[in-house]
């Protein structure tokens, strides 16, 4: 299973912060530091949860299981806001 950014979203970066707009819904979102790292990685193309986890563990001192759980919960949030979608 891979994850990718939807066509409903558009994002912009300013002073290290990423701001996302769901232009279909007219809603804005901000991300925390780790969220930005994941978002940046998704911007490069579809990712698996493992590939996202690799990126995060390269930068942050966190064990694989915790990392996967956290990413999974962030992806669920992003999916419910239609900013990210699952592809097979």
């Amino acid at each position: 299973m891979k994850y990718q950014l939807t066509s409903d979203q558009i994002s912009s970066k300013v002073a290290g912060e990423t701001v996302i707009l769901n232009h279909n819904k007219g809603a804005y979102f901000g991300l925390d530091e780790v969220g930005v790292l994941i978002w940046d990685t998704l911007e490069k193309g579809p990712q698996t949860i493992d590939s996202l986890c690799d990126v995060v563990t390269q930068t942050y001192d966190v064990d694989m299981d915790t990392c996967k759980e956290d990413i999974d919960s962030l992806l669920k949030d992003l999916i419910s806001e239609k900013l990210v979608e699952e592809i097979k």
Partner: protein, 307 residues
């Protein structure tokens, strides 16, 4: 036919618009303004008031935009180059006032400009914009900068365009700034140099027709003015605040912004940050403090320019 210039556009108009700069009759029109009757589509109320009249807004599949002010006029806006006016009053000043505000704003929107409900002045060779809720001091702040020798770029509606490098430029509007009589007194403007405004008994209009800046000016500072004592006197806008604050200060019916146009607004708001600083600033209290800030700011820019 009347010939005008406003927001960088050459305008040929069938109706008289005394607020605007005189134009060149030999150049082709970027915008035609005609008196005409037309059918209105279904309209929705907006939150836009002028002279106590609430505007309603509509659009059709052909992307034509409509604005209606009961008892004043209906406007139909097409392709960023045609503005039809159907007056409901004989008062030419009133028709002009409503034509050169939101109706002209819709033309600018169709032309792709980034629009702010802001007053703007030229400080040194930079454009500075002031926003805020009504009463926060947009026009008063602009008036203080003008007293300090700066040129007026726009009152109420500021149009911004982006060049090939993504640099933001303020397109000068037309030579009119409306100020309250307490501002006139507080900043010691010479009343003889001002025109009384028909829309309010205690408002005056400053009309620097000669030498009005017509060329675009590079955007440098944007201030969101407030009067709240519990907020910091000055703070830079954070990332998420940028599209939200600019959206709050969108001068036209919010129904215009959906999907593609909301996307454009979002991206343009961040494009501004590449050229300009964005600040939330508590309005200096009293005219003395305002002038103190303005004089410091102006001399700082002038020093930088001569370095």
């Amino acid at each position: 036919m009347y010939f005008y210039k406003a927001f960088g556009l050459n305008i040929h108009s069938e109706i008289i618009l005394p607020e605007l700069s005189d134009g060149d009759r030999t150049v082709n029109a970027d915008l035609n303004i005609r008196a005409a009757t037309f059918t209105l589509p279904s309209l929705k109320n907006t939150q836009i008031y002028r002279r106590g009249v609430k505007a309603s807004f509509g659009q059709n599949e052909g992307k034509e935009l409509f604005l209606y002010w009961k008892g004043i006029a209906a406007f139909k806006v097409t392709d960023g180059n045609l503005l039809l006016v159907s007056p409901e009053t004989e008062d030419e000043n009133l028709i002009s006032l409503f034509t050169v505000s939101e109706a002209l704003g819709l033309i600018l929107f169709q032309r792709g400009y980034f629009l702010l409900h802001a007053s703007s002045v030229m400080v040194g060779d930079e454009a500075w914009c002031f926003m805020g809720t009504p009463g926060a001091g947009k026009s008063t702040t602009a008036a203080a900068f003008i007293k300090a020798g700066c040129k007026l770029l726009s009152d109420d509606l500021t149009a911004i365009s982006f060049d090939g490098q993504g640099v933001a430029w303020v397109i000068p509007a037309y030579p009119q700034l409306k100020i309250w009589d307490n501002t006139v007194n507080g900043l010691e403007y010479d009343k003889a140099s001002l025109q009384p405004v028909s829309e309010g008994v205690n408002k005056f209009s400053y009309q620097p027709k000669s030498g009005f800046q017509q060329k675009p000016v590079k955007l440098k500072e944007i201030y969101f003015l407030h009067k709240a004592r519990n907020k910091k006197p000055l703070s830079a806008l954070s990332g998420p605040e940028i599209p939200i604050e600019t959206l709050k200060n969108f001068p036209l019916p919010i129904g215009l912004l959906n999907d593609e146009s909301l996307k454009r607004h979002f991206l343009q708001s961040f494009q501004c940050v590449k050229s300009a600083d964005m600040w939330r600033k508590r309005r200096p209290q009293g005219f003395a403090k305002l002038e103190e800030w303005v004089n410091e700011a102006v001399s700082e820019v002038n020093v930088q320019m001569h370095e």
